[in-house]
Each structure stands twice: as C-alpha cells, then as structure tokens.
Symmetry: C2
Subunit: 584 residues, 2 copies
C-alpha cells in the first residue's frame, strides 16, 4: 500500500493527484475484499462507490460540508478516508467500526442510517437548519438508484426544490437495487444513461431540480470535475453518476444480487466459508408458496426489494412468473397492493422483514385493516436473535402490528404449525392475517397441529397444571417448555400454553386460570413495551393473579452479543424458573 | 330538479346527453351546497369534481369497472349517481351516508378511504388481482394534485408502469392541496397546464406512464371524449384534468383553503353558523410559536399540508416567513426534515394530527429517535372525542409512539403545563420530545407548573392518599380528579397522579405506592392496547397491587356518539368510582 494506510483525514486525500487517487481506489478495493471475506458485510455497494467517495473528499470539506449516505451501506471507503482505515487494515480491529455511518465514531458521519430512502430528506433538514442559522456550507446526499423508489426518497426529491439554497444530491446509479430494480423511474434512468443525460423526460427536472450527468462514475477525474462544478451551488442539484456495482471483484460484478451483502467467503473461489444444509424458514416458505401457486393461479407473492430474505432466488422467481411481484423498495405500496389484490379476489402474500414492516403502519391500518382485506403478511426475521445493528432491530413488530384492529397476528411455534397457518390464511376471508414467521432452522411439531384457526384468540393449552401458567409465544414457546421442565424438577406442575394469537386474549382461558393459578408468565421474542405480555398483565390486572412478563426492555440496542443480551433481560429458562419460585 | 333526483344508478346517467348532464351538474352543486351548509363536510374537492364524476359514470361501467377515489373526500357526486341521492335531498337522511367511500353503502365503493395518497397503489392491487384471475375490466384511480406529494402515491405511480395492463389514473389538478401546494412536482404540473400537456419534462412520462391532458376538467364533453379514448386501454395511463376547486360557489372558489372542509354556514353570506370566542389549543400554539420565532430565528414550524389544524392561518404563515415550512402532504419527509434541522442546530417543531402521525413510524424510529435528534413533535387532536370517522380516528398514537426508544412523549393536562413543556422542548438537547397537545378549549392550571422536565418519567403526585391511586393521563387527568372527588364522598382518600410522561414509568413512585395502595387506576384518552395503562399493569404485575386500565377497547369505531362511546368503555367518573369501590 502506498496511500490508503497513510490517510488520516480527508486533508490527506486532497494532497493526492488523480493518478494517485486512482491507485488508491485499487488499494481500497483490496482492503474491502479482504475484510468482507473474513467479516461479511455489504460488498457490491461499497465496491462501486470507491472513486466517488474519494472524489467527494477531494472536492468537499467534510465535516464542515456534510455528507449523508443513504442506507450508509456504501460508506466503508468513506470510513477509510476519515480516520478509520485501521478498522480495515487489521483483522483484530474489524469490529471497531459499524457497517453504517455512526456519529459516535467520527464527526464525518452525520447520522446513524440503515433503512433506505432517507438521505434526501435528512439532507434537506441539514440544509434548512443551516439556512435558519445563516451559515454557509455544502450539504450532500448520496443515494443509490435502488433507494429512489421508496416513498420517503420521492417525497424528499419533490420537496428539495423548495429549498432555494445549496443541496447536492448524488444519485449513484448502479442499475441495481438489492435485486433488480422495478418501477417506471428506472426506465427513465436507463434513458438518461443512454442519452448521456439528455433525453426528453427527466424525472429530476420534472421535480424541479437542476441536473448533471457523469457517464463514468468510476472515473476519479470526471467525478472531480463535476463535483467542482456543483460545489457551493446556490440551489438543489442532482448529480447522476453511472457506476458499476461490485466493481473490481469479478464475482461481485457478475452476480450483483448475491454479492450485495455477503457472508464470509473465499476470495479465490467466491464460495461462502460457512454453509448449512439444514432447512430454514426462508427456503421453506418460498418452496411451499411455489407449490401453492401451481395449484392456484390467484396466489401471488409480493416483496419490496428483498426477495432473497425469504427464499425467493432468481430461479424460484422465474418459476413463479407473474405470481411473483417485486415492487422495489416501496413497502407502503406493497401493503396497499396486497389489499387491492385481495379485494379483487387474489391471494396475495407480502413477505417483509420485521425491521422494514415498520415503514407500513398507516398502510396496514388504513389500506389493509380498515378494509378487512384478506391478504397474508409474513413478518420475517422477527426475533431478538436476528440482526443486531441498531438500525435493523427486528423486535418492534409486536407493538406495531398487534394493536391494529382487525388484524389477526399469529405466532407459530414450529414448522408444521407455521405451514398450517399459512395455508389457512390463504383461504381465510374474514380478516387480514399476519404471521410472525419462526426464525432459524426449522423444527417439527411434537403436537398435532390444527388446520383451522378461524376461532380467533383460542390459545393452545399444551399441558394443564396449576399455580403457574407459562405463555410461551412463537419462537419462545420452546423456552417456556424448558422453564416448565425446570419447575417440574422442583415439584411445580406448571401449565404450558402456546398462545398462537398475538393480537388477542383468550378470555375464557384467562378466567379458567384464575381458579387455581397464582402467577402467569409471558415470554415473547421482542420488546416488552406495547407487546403481548402487557395485554395479559392488563387483563389480569384487576384479579389477584400475578403476571410477570419476559421480553426485551425498550432500548435501541446496538451490535449486542445475543447471549449476554438474553441474560441481561433474564431471557434464560434457569433465570425465569428462579423468578417463578420466588414469586410463588 | 329535472335529473339528479331521478338517478338511481349509473345506467340512468348513460341515458342523458351532454347538455342534460351539464344541467345536472348544476343540480348536483346545489344539493352539495345545501347539504354542506347544514351538515358541514368537504366542500371544494366535491364542487370541483362534479363534471368528472358524471363523465366517469357515463363512460365506464361501475361496479364492473372499479373506481378508487383518493381520500374519497370528493366522492359526494359519485354517491348521488350510485343510488344514494336521497342522502343529499332530504336533511333527515343526510347522515345515511358517510363522508367517504364506504363499501357497506354501495357496491360502487371499492374501499373505505380517508387518508391521502393511497388510491394509485390500491388500484394497482385491483388491477393485478384482476390480471391474476384473467378478468377484464377497467380500474380507475382518481387522485388530486395535492395527494401526489405523498410517498405512497409516488411509490404507486412509479410501480404502476410495471403492470402492462389496464389502469387509468385520473389526476384531478385543482392547483391546491388543503392549503397551497409545495414541492417541485407542482412546477411541472403548472408547466403541463401552460403547454396543454406538451412541455419537455413530464413527471408521469418520466415514471413510465402514458399521458393525456384535459384543459377544461369541468367540461363534460371533453372529459367524456378523453375517457372514451382511454377506456379499455391496454396499459397504465395518466389522464391529467385541470379543474376548478370550489367551482360554482364563489366563496369556495375565492378562498379555497377555508372552503376545503367547512362547518355549517349561511349560503348567502358564507359565514359560519357556529363560532366560538373561547381560546383553543390550535390558536394558542401558533400564537405562542410565533412569539418564540421572533425571539429566536432558529425556531421553525413544520406542517405536512395541514397548517390550519394548528392555527397556522395564511396571515400567521406570512408573519413566520422562512420559519414556517409546509412540505405538502409528505409526513415522512417532515419527520426526517425535522431530524436534519435539529442536527444542524435548528429548533424544528412538527405539528401533526394524531391520525396522520401514523404515516411516520419508521421515520420517527430511524430518522429521529435512533439519532436522538432534539426536535419537537406536536401530536394534535389526539383524543377519543376528536374526529370520529373510522379513517380519522385520533387514538392510536400512544401505542405507536410511546414504545419507540429515546422518544420523550409528554401528556400535558392544561394550557400552562402545555406551554411550559413546549418551551422546555425547544431548548432540550438530549432526546426528541413529542407532546400530546390537549384538545378543545384551553384550561388554566390550578397547580404550579415546572419549567424543567429533564428528570424523565417523574410523575406529579397531586394528592397523596392511600388504598387507591388514580393515574389520569393528559386529557383524562380531569376525569381522574372527578373520580377522586366521588371516592372522597364515600370516605376513600385516593392518591391523584398526573403522569406527565407517557413513554416511561416512575419506578420510585410505583414502589412507594406498593406500601399502602391496593389498587391503581389508569385513565388514558386513547386505545388501551399497547398503551400507557398496560405499562403500569406490567410493572405492577408481579406485585399484589391490582391495576385497572381505562381507555378505549381496540376496534375501528365509526361515526360514534362520543357520549355513548365513553359509557360503553366505562369512561365516566361515576362508573369508574363504582368499579373502584367494587375492587377495593
């Protein structure tokens, strides 16, 4: 390495010439590939943005000038150029930085960002704040083409022209979302690329914005030239740069979808280091729905730009044909689309990660649930043990969804129960149904599973004991059984319940438990506040039965160790059994 | 009346000629103005859409062809033409229909819709459902220009071109949102109008859509001609019609903002029939913020298209100048904008109706709260006694917001406490603060109000009694005092608490109450599930103190009588006092 390991701040970038910066781009790519091969992370987005990041730091003066990276999954080169190259040089320091921008790491990071489509609005806010204070600096949003289809990004682009002051929006067009792009605006981007930015209709101009085009967005020289032209500009401008996703690593260039985010891999072969043959709920879901689609042309799977997270590989998508819809990153549209399809007699199944279902509360409430449209929503990866970046926590879906009227929110405890609920939901016409899909490797049921769930809020009493009842919801049912096992050793015959329904209380069962139970324990794989346990606590509140709820306390936990986190929240069978004995 | 009172279904419209339909348009306007003058409702949107609605029913075959009205606040003429004219002819029947489309009223209404920007996505869903079933009919979305700035509408427009089948999007361009439009796309609409739809950049074409322009959208003949051209079209098309909001009633034409939605009025003078001189929280808020703005150039109020609901009249907006920002209907952008402004040293205050804050969960969580940006959010009209249309319920904000980490959600109980909290929030830098603004006429405080709320979750114990503690949150604090008064008559000395903080529990107080209290009562002016009371019930769950929570049960209530609704939910001091006596 001649350059990158010596960069301590953007000032060091400004001392280099174009040739040196271009050489440094190669060094950055090597560091990226090395780290990713060991650590995993976002690959394609980072490889494509190397030159643009160098050019940004050459032309602008961060942190006085402020750069906001959309999703910020392309900010690794930015981290290297802003005093954090150590976290890419030495394996021991790989975890010193997060995978996203993080103001606590550096004054060059303006926001913690992990969800898509937010950068333009956040940058508008910085610009407006600057203007209110009468200050004078550049505000730059960097947004990928894939993020443009999100409602918040489009709202931001539309409003930006109201600013009448400096705002620079870099559209990093690598012709990909996580998977391929979907939506009419991508036809316009293609036309703009084909005409060197000169075609008749221009989405950005139609939104009142000035516009520049950079045909080779991986060429340091042309990037610098254009960035210098727009530096200190007096009004909002879009700089549309055409880049190559995955550039410099042939596997990532050739299979952009696989290499968007990648687990540790062998650099020479591109093969993952760790694979598993065990069946997981993602593959299971896609496989099962494909079968259903073949039997019934009305079944249709919907994704909002994330087919891979629930098993929809390119070949399965092809097999599903018109019965698979990717709306691009547009979760709000996905929910309304599902509602409309259901009202027209289709059987839509929208699969969405717990963290991203957060983008759809109003659509869930207004478009779907007020209309009681019988669509199926699969809430994926919903668990305290899923993603642990603060921006990707998957444990707020219970308070979000279970308090919406009309929605039947189900928590299966194993594979057989899940598939039975999914099958039932496809034909159920009374209400929309959401299913909190179990996580990890599939587990078979040891109990018989019903095929009909239309008697709502009827919990399954797996074992009727006395004194204490354990309500183990969904993923945590197994922990509930483990607690019961430990209590049995102490001579306590606990009642074990699989609640099945997150969105309602089994009043008859609760009344029955009052007769000979002193304590109810609730276990949920999510945040406590606004969740399932609190409903039980409220119901039992006026009685003399005590209730103790287990789940995670409300906080934005970040990159936590799952085992420590569970212990802190007393989410361990031994600790819970101990509490029960103390409470009885 | 020659025509309208004889229309029993769209078939009767099809029998008329253009001249007769034009005459009928006048009759419809008379009925609209008469009903609105007595009943109140959406005025401008309905008056502007009369001819287009007639033309739609002349050309298309509802209910086989399906029409989806955005917000559906322009659907009154549609109701008259689809068998419901009786609800406009006779004052006694005015309440037979809702102010929005309602499938339970008519097969011509496809969805219950009241929030903006949803129609395109819902229509896309109908179209996709139709295609999956191999059916063949027209799907028509009718969306106003004001609704176009909403993220869901833009997501829908972007995705629509993926359909490759029939979809007709009528853009009803009346050059207004509720107030004036804001955003770059409105410059494009103006250009399109100025060039008869022929200007270089075209937003709709840039989103991959076919396009037609109708210069006079209040002319039955040209509307019919264009609708006939696009009927049975094989691909998505936008029909951009230029209409006059409020057409036919000069007060509504001249002051479009006032007459968007109007309370009962005198037809001749245009004056409201019922006015009040009492101070309300809306005027109070705008007046107070204007003062703050004059003292501090960094204070900035933000609205998402609804300035009027919190006192921001045109003259106050003018006075605030650049310190007032209307982002148009774009709530997501508004939250991110506020976060950015706060990070750049501004003091943003985003005022948003409880029903519409629902559109911002992910922005609240990701853009605002993870970043701990010290913005102020005013949640307006949040009460069971606010709007009672099912689409506009204002009582789900507590489960939505109070379970987001980092957010400090406050519930003032009177005017002085509210202003003190608002003032404090402007300078507080630790966390974002949301305030649930009281509703109705202002009430002065009988207690001293602190100026500092930075010791979080410290409840105010207004009276320390024993046996029972009443936690009266925000608007319901007064009911708590009334309950205590009734209990006193029975010799019970209840503790009375003003919790102030919705988003956290005062653990020290709770522990203290355990000593000599047997029962805690919580009162909240919102839905019970996921709310404040449940947090108290969970906290006290493992103790022997009983908890009884009061609020509304989870349901989509519609057009309810407030007094009956409160009784049903036992939200009356006498009923609660009765319960307390039974529980003690």
């Amino acid at each position: 390495m001649k350059y990158i390991d010596k960069i301590q701040s953007p000032a060091d970038v400004k001392r280099l010439n174009v040739e040196q910066m271009t050489e440094m781009a190669g060094e950055i790519r090597n560091l990226l590939i090395n780290k990713l091969s060991v650590h995993g992370g976002h690959c394609g987005p980072n490889l494509g943005m190397v030159e643009a990041t160098i050019a940004l730091h050459y032309v602008f003066n961060s942190p006085i000038d402020r750069i906001v990276f959309d999703v910020s999954h392309q900010s690794y080169a930015h981290k290297m150029l802003t005093g954090r190259v150590g976290a890419f040089l030495d394996e021991k320091h790989y975890d010193d930085v997060s995978g996203y921008t993080e103001p606590s790491e550096s004054e060059h990071d303006n926001f913690i960002i992990g969800h898509t489509s937010t950068s333009v609005s956040l940058a508008c806010g910085l610009a407006k704040g600057r203007d209110l204070r009468g200050e004078n600096y550049n505000v730059i949003a960097v947004i990928g083409d894939g993020s443009l289809s999100g409602g918040e990004a489009l709202e931001g682009l539309d409003w930006a022209s109201e600013l009448n002051s400096n705002l620079i929006i870099i559209v990093n067009d690598n012709q990909m979302s996580i998977a391929e792009n979907h939506g009419g605006l991508y036809k316009n981007l293609a036309e703009l690329r084909a005409t060197n930015g000169k075609c008749e209709n221009n989405l950005f101009k139609a939104m009142g914005l000035d516009y520049r085009y950079v045909a080779n967005g991986n060429d340091v020289n042309s990037l610098i030239k254009t960035f210098e032209e727009v530096k200190n500009i007096s009004h909002p401008v879009v700089v549309h740069i055409n880049t190559l996703k995955g550039k410099g690593y042939h596997f990532a260039e050739e299979d952009k979808e696989t290499w968007h985010w990648i687990a540790p891999f062998d650099i020479n072969t591109g093969q993952l280091k760790f694979t598993s043959d065990a069946e997981n709920y993602n593959d299971l879901t896609a496989t099962y729905l494909l079968e259903q689609m073949k039997a019934d042309g009305k079944v249709c799977a919907i994704t909002a730009g994330t087919p891979g997270i629930w098993g929809w590989t390119p070949s399965r998508r092809k097999e599903a044909g018109k019965q698979f819809v990717d709306v691009g990153i547009a979760e709000e549209h996905a929910v309304a689309l599902a509602s409309g399809m259901a009202k027209a007699g289709g059987k839509p199944v929208f699969g969405v990660c717990s963290s991203f279902v957060q983008r759809t509360y109003d659509q869930m409430s207004q478009d779907l649930c007020i209309n009681d449209s019988p669509a199926t929503i699969l809430v994926l990866w919903a668990s305290l043990a899923a993603m642990n970046d603060v921006t990707h926590l998957c444990w707020f879906d219970i308070p979000l969804l279970s308090n919406i009227p009309n929605l039947v929110y189900l928590a299966p405890t194993n594979k057989d129960e899940y598939l039975s609920m999914l099958k039932w939901s496809l034909d159920y016409k009374e209400h929309p149904v959401a299913i909190r899909v179990p996580v990890g490797n599939t587990v078979k049921s040891s109990r018989e599973v019903p095929s009909d769930f239309s008697i709502l809020n009827k919990y399954e009493v797996v074992h009727r004991g006395k004194d204490v009842a354990i309500l183990g919801l969904g993923n945590f049912y197994a922990m509930g059984e483990a607690v019961a096992g430990l209590l049995k050793e102490k001579g306590i015959d606990a009642t074990v319940v699989n609640p099945r329904y997150i969105s309602g209380i089994d009043g008859a069962l609760m009344e029955d438990l009052k007769d000979d139970h002193k304590l109810i324990i609730t276990l949920e794989d999510g945040v406590l506040e606004g969740g399932f346990g609190e409903k039980i606590a409220r119901y039992m509140g006026p009685s003399s039965v005590k209730v103790r709820c287990y789940g995670a306390k409300k906080e934005f936990a970040d990159r936590y160790d799952v085992s420590e986190f569970f212990t802190e929240n007393r989410l361990r069978a031994d600790l819970i059994a101990e509490d029960v004995i103390n409470l009885l």
